[in-house]
């Protein structure tokens, strides 16, 4: 909201597309560098001219892919995040400028070394050539080291939240497991790419030798190290407060619990993150199976097709893994600092003290949650499209609602495409949407009880674990957004303009708090459920989280509880007439 918003449906997909392509090449740029120097050294030590010839041809492919597509897509990610998340990008640039600058010195050395290595095959003596290869690899790996610090900071900023110390932010809780996982992934990818270039070798014996070297020396070790590193990574993320199990829909945070949830399906969790995790697992298993099969058959049959299939599976695996990482970070763009829509958390007290003479800049941040809730997002935003004075009544509300939607929701949701919002709100009444918006995310203490947004260890309790940021704005803006969403969901002007009837308090409470899931168009409608009387529902309302852990505690008054129970009895067909009732469920204790 500090910056203009690019009206692009599915802008998140744009970042994902470029990022996955870049990561697939940039990890090869690291692992492939090590592959080149070790393969060259092996060929020179054994006097294997054929193998050396392959390494030279592979290096040409390496340079053409990494220097052009790898480097330019890296710049492309920078361009893209600046367009889609300018506020987040600006914060990262300001915070990490010297680390980016240091990373650039490695990047520049890496590019120069790659060119000298490639052009130096027949011009440098072997020792110098190998030395240049090592310069290349270490520069590339150090570049990964630096970027890994910033990427993991975005997920688990650690003590930086209160100390603002770059060392705390850089060597954060997921830094080391992520570094091991990425290094292992880079080595594995080097093997995958070597299989691809080997498949284009004309000599079948050389092809088989290279593919064996790539599979046994590079891919299979990665298949052992990488899963272990990922388990370490997920455990570290969970330890730092990332709700790993909840987001993946798992009942426990153990490796088997997560695997079971991803492979067998679950009702909870963030659906896209869960799908990405499932895709990653199946693609990696397929990749491994193909590598083993290709070894057994020695690539005699259709070596190019098999190699390309392996590369495709590796791409899907890596894409899935990166998507899971992004999903775990949601709804933050920078953990415990900024949400994906550019709204910042109010700074914890120690940060005010650290700011010294500039404490007012921190305390009066117009884009933090507290200020937006007071002043309103439409007032605070620097780039909105104002309504004309002619717009009044419902038209004005719809306009304001659409602007609030652009400011707070459009960074993740499109209306009809990726992460489409229309199917999610179809048929939902305004009251249900308003109630859902009010509880998108609430702060919780690390111990699980109610928390404060200014708590440095604050955890998020999000509606149905959907990893949404809290609504930031006034009650009026939330209502306008609810009206706009209801209109997207098909509500007619008449129904939106109709003044809500003085409803039964049970109906009103149900519509505002339960109807998103249990209304007529909800995933679990009450209609058609076993008939129970009001007394049975009264008991059930007192134990909602024990019936289903995704349901919140009933927070209404005693009168509302009785009224809702009566309404539920009507919804299940019990009505006001005496009828045989199903006994109340046995409530787990």
């Amino acid at each position: 909201m500090n910056y203009p918003i690019w009206d692009l449906p599915s802008s998140g997909l744009l970042i994902a597309g470029i990022a996955i392509l870049h990561v697939f090449i940039s990890h090869f740029a690291v692992g492939g560098g090590l592959f080149l120097v070790l393969a060259e050294r092996r060929a020179r030590r054994t006097g294997d001219a054929e193998f050396l010839g392959y390494v030279i041809r592979h290096s040409r492919f390496f340079v053409l892919l990494t220097l052009v597509l790898g480097a330019v897509t890296g710049v492309g990610i920078w361009f893209t995040i600046g367009l889609v998340h300018p506020a987040g990008t600006s914060s990262l640039i300001q915070t990490w400028m010297w680390v980016w600058a240091i990373e650039w010195t490695f990047f520049a050395t890496e590019i120069a070394a790659a060119l000298v290595y490639y052009y130096g095959w027949h011009r440098l003596d072997p020792a110098t050539h190998l030395a240049v290869g090592w310069v290349y690899f270490w520069s590339a790996w150090l570049s990964l080291f630096a970027i890994n610090g910033i990427l993991t900071f975005m997920l688990t900023p650690g003590a930086w939240v209160t100390t603002r110390s770059l060392l705390d932010g850089f060597f954060n809780p997921t830094f080391w497991p992520s570094l091991v996982a990425r290094t292992a992934g880079a080595a594995g990818l080097a093997g995958v790419y070597a299989l691809v270039t080997a498949a284009w070798e004309r000599d079948p014996t050389l092809r088989a030798r290279v593919s064996r070297f790539a599979a046994l020396g590079w891919i299979l070790p990665m298949a052992v190290v990488l899963p272990a590193a990922l388990v370490w990574y997920l455990a570290a993320a969970a330890g730092a407060g990332v709700p790993v199990a909840a987001l993946l829909g798992a009942r426990s945070g153990t490796a088997t619990g997560i695997l079971r949830a991803l492979l067998s399906g679950a009702d909870s969790g963030q659906p896209i993150t869960r799908f990405a995790g499932m895709l990653m697992i199946w693609a990696s298993l397929t990749c491994l199976a193909l590598v083993l099969a290709a070894q057994w058959q020695r690539l005699r049959r259709a070596p190019r097709a098999i190699a390309l299939a392996i590369a495709a599976c590796a791409l899907v695996t890596l894409g899935g893994a990166e998507w899971v990482r992004e999903g775990l970070r949601k709804p933050y763009v920078i953990g415990q600092f900024m949400f994906v829509n550019g709204v910042r958390l109010p700074a914890p007290a120690p940060v005010h003290a650290l700011a010294g003479a500039h404490a007012a800049r921190v305390a009066q941040d117009p884009f933090d949650l507290a200020h937006l809730s007071r002043a309103g997002v439409l007032t605070a935003a620097r780039w909105t499209r104002p309504a004309s004075d002619a717009l009044q009544g419902l038209d004005r509300t719809l306009h304001d609602g659409s602007e609030v939607y652009r400011l707070l929701c459009a960074s993740c949701h499109s209306v009809d495409h990726y992460n489409a919002v229309r199917p999610l709100v179809r048929g939902r009444p305004v009251e249900a949407l308003d109630g859902m918006l009010a509880r998108l995310a609430t702060p919780a203490a690390a111990t699980g009880g109610p928390g404060e947004w200014t708590d440095p260890a604050v955890r998020l309790v999000t509606w149905r674990d959907r990893a949404m940021p809290p609504f930031a704005g006034t009650d009026g803006e939330r209502r306008a957004l609810a009206v706009y969403l209801a209109s997207l969901g098909g509500a007619t002007r008449e129904s939106l303009e109709a003044k809500p009837a003085v409803a039964d308090p049970g109906v009103a409470f149900f519509e505002a708090n339960c109807a998103m899931c249990h209304g007529v168009d909800g995933q679990w409608p009450m209609a058609g459920r076993p008939r129970r009387d009001a007394a049975a529902f009264y008991e059930l309302l007192g134990a909602l989280p024990r019936i289903n852990e995704l349901m919140p505690e009933f927070t209404g008054s005693e009168a509302e509880r009785r009224a809702v129970a009566a309404h539920l009895a009507v919804l299940t067909g019990h009505g006001s007439t005496p009828a045989p009732t199903t006994p109340a469920l046995e409530i787990p204790r």
């Binding site: 918003i5 690019w6 052009v68 300001q94 240091i102 010195t105």
Partner: protein, 369 residues
């Protein structure tokens, strides 16, 4: 419901600037200067290479040889351009990011198009480099590559123009937020772009002349032609640029010109113009001289000085334009000296390593290079 806000420049983040402004400004200017050297060789060199390839196709042997030489040089020049551009963009974003992010979003579709266009152009330089000696449609491919680089330059000129006129962004955003705006309504755009392209041709012309200086022992006749030919490109482009530059200055908003001219940095511009006149004279003289060697060397020294002065002038023009539009710098500065020192040490180490590698490569250079 509260009224909708009016549009304005983005506010500074509640984050301290990690270095003093003077240091960031110095780093920006140094890296930008280092970036424009290969960038001009790429942009101008691709144009000269395309022309040389067409002339070579029609039997002009020196042009055919020049096209081959430029084809082999361009991929490395693109790599240097991208690499050095990354650093310049980083420091520019720290200092002027609020304006740059906003202008980039306004023209997001075109700005992002730089990535695929650059990939295509970059691969184009490699294709011509590898295959250009064989029969094929290489004049056409070279021309497409030049057009791609010219398109990228046009997009950059638009973004830098938009970023310097934040007063125009609000109305554009109100009208359409699909990222499809260009600065076509800005009368300064065309002369700015023309100035950019002509500068590139001038620097690339000098690069061609310097290729001649380097080869004067091995291929004296071709070397002499290269010096004269490069001098002609450089001199003619610089002479035309004096006109284009004046047009650009006059096309700027009147208050900006008055403000700029009343400040000390205007001295850099006047010195740059004077230096540019000397470049044009020296380069044109080299193109007609019997022994152009010393004239080419003098042109090179003067052109580097001109570029430096113009880089400073360009930056100060931006500072004044943005200041007039209400842009204020981040006044919360907390230098991170240990990291600054680490950067400088690693930067020095990187320069040393690169220098060692390149010297090792050229110690055993092939006779044809």
């Amino acid at each position: 419901m509260t009224p909708l806000s009016t549009l304005a420049l983005p506010l500074a983040d509640p984050i301290a600037q990690p270095a003093p402004t003077w240091l960031l400004w110095t780093l920006l200017l140094v890296t930008f200067f280092l970036h424009v050297l290969p960038m001009n060789v790429v942009l101008g060199g691709s144009i000269i290479a395309a022309v040389a390839r067409w002339r070579g196709r029609h039997g002009h042997a020196p042009s055919a040889a020049l096209a081959g030489t430029l084809a082999r040089a361009l991929p490395t020049a693109v790599a240097a351009t991208v690499t050095l551009g990354v650093a310049a963009l980083l420091f520019a974003q720290v200092l002027y990011g609020r304006a740059l992010f906003a202008s980039s979003v306004l023209m997001a579709a075109y700005w992002l198009a730089v990535v695929p266009l650059l990939v295509l152009a970059y691969y184009g330089t490699y294709v011509v480099s590898y295959k250009g000696d064989r029969p094929g449609p290489w004049p056409l491919v070279s021309s497409v590559v030049a057009l791609l680089f010219m398109t990228i330059a046009f997009i950059y000129a638009n973004n830098m123009s938009l970023a310097q006129r934040p007063d125009t962004l609000a109305a554009a955003y109100q009208a359409d937020a699909r990222g499809l705006h260009l600065a076509l309504g800005d009368p300064a755009l065309l002369p700015r772009y023309l100035h950019l392209v002509l500068s590139a041709v001038a620097v690339a012309g000098l690069f061609v002349a310097l290729l001649g200086v380097r080869r004067r022992q091995r291929e004296p006749r071709q070397a002499e032609w290269l010096m004269r030919h490069g001098g002609l490109w450089c001199g003619a482009a610089t002479a035309l640029n004096l006109v284009a530059g004046s047009w650009w200055l006059l096309a700027l908003p009147r208050p900006t010109i008055v403000h700029f001219m009343s400040h000390v940095p205007a001295v850099a511009l006047f010195a740059g113009v004077a230096s540019g006149m000397v470049v044009a004279g020296l380069a044109l003289a080299a193109s007609f001289a019997k022994d152009p060697l010393s004239l080419v060397r003098a042109t090179a020294a003067t052109l580097v000085l001109t570029l430096l002065l113009m880089v400073v002038s360009r930056d100060q023009l931006r500072v004044i334009s943005l200041g007039d539009a209400g842009f204020t710098r981040n006044d919360w500065v907390e230098p991170q000296w240990p990291l600054t020192l680490l950067f400088l040490v690693l930067f020095t180490a990187a320069l040393g390593t690169m220098s060692w590698m390149v010297r090792a490569l050229y110690r055993t250079a092939r006779p044809t290079d």
